[in-house]
Symmetry: C2
């Protein structure tokens, strides 16, 4: 019987970042943690509320699809989960598996190895917004959410930022592929950089002329273009199944948790 | 804000089964429940053990793959989960979503609508065996596990049996597709019938001549044959991602929980 690899605090032991990079990671950790004292402190409801746990598992495994809001009965549960340790630990396990996979490839750096990162709830966290708007229980207000995005202050999801830096250290290039529109390219660039993502091979935003119906179709089409131009998509990480399904999904995909909203 | 559909006890309210069928369901419930007093009583460790929860989520979302045993540190957690309410509720949510989907199709019964059921940990539960063998912490002993299968006494997973009966009532045909070998066809048939699965369109077991490497390849190949002979695979339910990935997977797939073993 072997010990659980995911329990190893590998990030702390092996973090291959510059002093500058480490500072950014610390800041990212602080920003996302700052929210905690404002609401519930932990996971106290998780054990009591079997059904909200089952709902979340159903969402994360793509059994429950096309949902519009978090069930009202699960608002407390969702808040506890997202501001507590479990969301962070769940994200850490995903990022850890992604890194173990990338490292295991022993890639030759031919300049074409590409990893796709989604942006919202993957690279950047909109938890500060959703914490003020019912953690997904409220129908998304596109006006106030749009205003939040224009502030450009979304913190990094710390586990994704750590993964990003470790992939770059392995010689893997990163492309951000997002459903955000071209109209907010500048603020998105600034936000990514301020959050610690200081370089990228591609930042692909949705052109206003794009007429496809779903995120699956849009992202498949953009990934196909990338592969057509010579990149090898060795990995793909996102919080929505629509980031990971369709065509040209990459050699392996990784699903981060998001029990706040669903994008088809 | 709408109430959580998965909380509705729809099975009890709408169970469209004969008296005979209801009796079988009750028996199935009792058999799987009988195990509880033998070990831990509930979910007491779930909340304490953030990392085991994250490990299980990683497994269920296909982020953690190719694993051989449940982490030793999670044995208590796994037992509590599998013998407590959470595993049953998680399974119920999956079966409920599957039924809602099937019902929403408003199918015309042309005799070709087919739903694929995996067998082990989907239609039948080997929990009585695994409860005596560390819930997946021990490396699988193929001799004792084989002997267990030959007993032919595995109970139904109650939620799957309920789904099976409701799909039949909608005029949908059922095919069992399993990695079990042809050599145990007879005992598998007897076990299925004794557990309450009293009819099927196909029972597909693996021929000893099959030389494919993985369950994904084998099951894709068998599903392709089914579609080639005119069936429409409208749904597909299994506990392993290898039941649900590959080709000809069906119009929609449903992943039941299984934190005990991994089959690629």
């Amino acid at each position: 019987m072997r010990a659980l690899p995911v329990l190893q605090l590998f990030f702390l032991a092996t973090l291959a970042a510059t002093t500058h990079g480490s500072f950014e990671l610390d800041i990212a950790d602080q920003i996302i943690h700052l929210l905690r004292p404002k609401t519930r402190s932990g996971d106290s409801h998780v054990d009591d509320n079997v059904s909200c746990l089952s709902w979340r598992l159903g969402v994360e495994t793509h059994n429950i699809i096309d949902w519009t809001t978090v069930p009202a009965a699960c608002e407390g549960y969702a808040g506890d989960y997202l501001l507590g340790h479990q969301y962070r630990k769940d994200s850490e396990v995903v990022a850890h598996e992604a890194y173990l996979y990338a490292e295991s490839l022993n890639l030759t750096d031919d300049g074409n190895n590409l990893w796709i990162f989604d942006i919202d709830e993957t690279s950047l966290s909109n938890l500060p917004y959703f914490a003020d708007h019912g953690f997904g229980v409220e129908v998304l207000n596109t006006t106030s959410y749009g205003a939040w995005m224009l502030e450009g202050i979304a913190p990094a999801l710390p586990e994704s930022l750590k993964l990003y830096k470790k992939l770059l250290a392995l010689g893997i290039k990163v492309a951000f592929l997002t459903g955000r529109g071209e109209s907010i390219r500048n603020v998105t660039e600034t936000n990514l950089m301020n959050a610690g993502y200081d370089s990228w091979e591609k930042l692909i935003l949705k052109d206003s002329s794009y007429s496809g119906d779903t995120a699956v179709m849009y992202k498949s089409s953009e990934r196909k273009k990338l592969e057509g131009s010579g990149y090898k998509i060795i990995g793909n990480i996102g919080d929505q199944w629509s980031d990971l399904l369709g065509t040209n999904v990459g050699n392996r995909t990784f699903k981060l948790p998001n029990p706040m909203y669903y994008a088809s």
